[in-house]
Each structure stands twice: as structure tokens, then as C-alpha cells.
Amino acid sequence: MNRKFLSLAIGAAMLLSIGATAQAQTAGWIHVRVTEDEGTSVNVNLPMSLISVAMELAQKHAFDGDMDFGDEFDGHVRFGHGNDFEVEDVRRMWAELRDAGDADYVQVEDGDENVNIYRRDDTVYIEVDEDGEDKIRLQVPFSVVDVLLEGDGDEINLVGALEEMASANNGEILQVNDGETTVRIWIDDNPQG
């Protein structure tokens, strides 16, 4: 499997799992499916309440204070002061972008690798192509970013954004297909997905 692709998928799964945690009370399930053409598959079905406990543990022992989930994780993440950016700056930048209308935000052509991030109507599209095969397609509705950046200071609403993403896309969080490998992450109430 393409290592970069797999790293991205795992990273996305972890990030999204973090975001899923505060939904414990809804007894929902988060599912991750990774399928490779060459015969490997990974199938994970976890209750979000279980992930919530894992994240509280990670909060105290893994992130080493760079990210603060609060004493009882409520879905909001506060960034520490040692970071290279301030959430407030991102918030201001988003406000500018929001008012700017349709635009191409990022276009990178580097050999066989193309990255495009652009806005059409109220959706941000993220597309990555590599060797004409690797493909990442992610559509982020504006409402998701609005919810993510709501609040004050260095706090973002990760879970709220995830919920908005899921509700906007019928539970679907992320789908990636690079031609050889597919990754799907979604939330529902079915333990087996």
C-alpha cells in the first residue's frame, strides 16, 4: 500500500475518532473500513463511548499538554500556547474566505502530484491526485467549518463539526479511494456497520 496514503488514512481516522468521542451518550458506533485490491482489509467497529475513554486517557498521557480536551471531554479542543498558529487567526481567515465567494484556494502541481482546494457555492472541495491514480476526494460543507470554528479563543468544536459533517453527508465522514485502496469512515447506530 502507498505509505503516504495509508498514513493519511490512519491520521484521518485518528482525528475523526477524536472528534467522535463526545457522542458517547448517543450510543453510536464509528466504523472504519480499509480495503486493498491485493487482498488486505481492516474492519473496525467501536462504540464511541469506548473511544471517549481512550481519548481521555490520551489527553492526559499522549498529547503531553499540546492539546487540551478539558477534564471531561465535551467535544471541544483547546490548543496550547506552544503552537505555531492561533485559532483566532484561522477564524479571521475563514471569515474572509466565507465572504469571498467561489474561488480556487490552493493549486499545487508538483510532477505527478496535484492538489486542489477550491470553493463552489457553500462547499469546499479537497482533491489530491497522484500519478493519475491516487485520489482523495473530500467535500466539506461550509456549515462544518462554521461549527468547527465557533466559540472563542483557542478552542475549536471538533465534535460539533463531526456531527455536522455526518448529518450533512448521511453519517459519512470520509471516503478515500486511491485506485488500489479504499478507506471509509462513518457513524451509525448499527454495531456491525
Binding site: G39, S41, V44, S49, E56
Partner: protein, 174 residues
């Protein structure tokens, strides 16, 4: 007189026998082409013996795990809420197959490899919960007698079964 003497002589044997009879027995079995070992471990007897062990053996200082145990306790609670047979994790890599699921209040891990290696582990959640209780938060010590008691909470049947070629390891409760 002779009868009394015989009775006194037999008393310790009877006591030990009684303890063993009421005990969960862990059986460790190792089998390979060169050797076949079966070690029955009567846990009640071990627990009683442990009570007479020196304090260093009875109370093991492990302060560093103290902060993790409340999470382990909650993990167990959450796992117990998961319906049986839900496949928590499944990895298929060609002919290798890894499965993690819950069955009868036990976390089960099954690994089947294409070269014939099989690993089958059953972790009784009741035993894990009892192990958490074996930790004394005030002193930061694990009480070994209670750890053994936690093992006794395991239901009868296989706990660990590993088959790797000609070698086989079996740990089961009886």
C-alpha cells in the same frame, strides 16, 4: 490412640485436599515433539500460600499503573455494554486473519496465520475487573493474593491456546 494419631496426621492432607477441591485449577500444558508438560495450579492453594509470603511478595509496588486503572475499569464497563459477537476489529491480510470480539463476558482475540499458527486468547472481563480491585490506590501496591483471586474469577475453559507448528501451549481453567 492410633486412630487419633492417624486423624491428626491426615488433617493437613485433608485441609489441603479440601482447598484444592474447592479451587479453580489453572492447567498449563506445553506440548512439543521433545516434551509434554502439564502443570496443574490450584489457585486457592496458591492464594493461601501467598498469604504467608513476605510482604515484598504480597504487596508489589507499582505506583505508575495507578493512574491508568480507573480508565481500565471504564473500558471494561464500556466493553460489557457491547453485544456479543460484534466484530470490534478484524484484519484480513491474504491468508492471515485477526479477530477481536466479545463473547460471554470475555474479550476474545483470534489469530489464524496462513502458515498454520493459531492464537486463541480469552480474557474474562470479570478477572480484569478483579485485577483492578487488587490495586491499593493509597499505597500504590498490587496485592498478589487478590490478583490470584482475580484469576479464580475466570470461568472454566481455555484462556490461552497457541498452536505453532509442532508446538502447542494451552492455559485453561478447570
Amino acid at each position: 490412640m492410633l486412630i487419633k494419631l492417624a486423624a491428626l496426621t491426615m488433617l493437613p492432607v485433608a485441609l489441603v485436599g479440601g482447598v484444592v477441591a474447592n479451587s479453580s485449577i489453572m492447567i498449563v500444558e506445553v506440548d512439543n515433539p521433545d516434551v509434554h508438560i502439564v502443570i496443574p495450579v490450584p489457585l486457592s492453594l496458591v492464594q493461601v500460600a501467598a498469604a504467608f509470603a513476605p510482604d515484598e511478595a504480597k504487596y508489589v509496588q507499582v505506583e505508575e499503573i495507578g493512574e491508568f486503572l480507573p480508565y481500565l475499569d471504564r473500558f471494561i464497563d464500556e466493553l460489557r455494554a457491547v453485544p456479543d459477537d460484534v466484530m470490534l476489529v478484524e484484519v484480513i491480510d491474504h491468508s492471515d486473519h485477526v479477530r477481536v470480539f466479545l463473547e460471554d463476558d470475555m474479550l476474545r482475540v483470534r489469530v489464524d496465520e496462513q502458515h498454520g499458527t493459531q492464537v486463541n486468547v480469552r480474557v474474562p472481563l470479570a478477572s480484569v475487573a478483579a485485577m483492578v480491585d487488587a490495586y491499593d490506590t493509597e499505597t500504590g501496591t498490587l496485592r498478589t493474593t487478590r490478583l490470584i483471586g482475580a484469576l479464580r474469577a475466570a470461568p472454566s475453559g481455555d484462556l490461552v491456546h497457541v498452536v505453532d507448528g509442532d508446538e502447542e501451549v494451552h492455559i485453561r481453567m478447570w
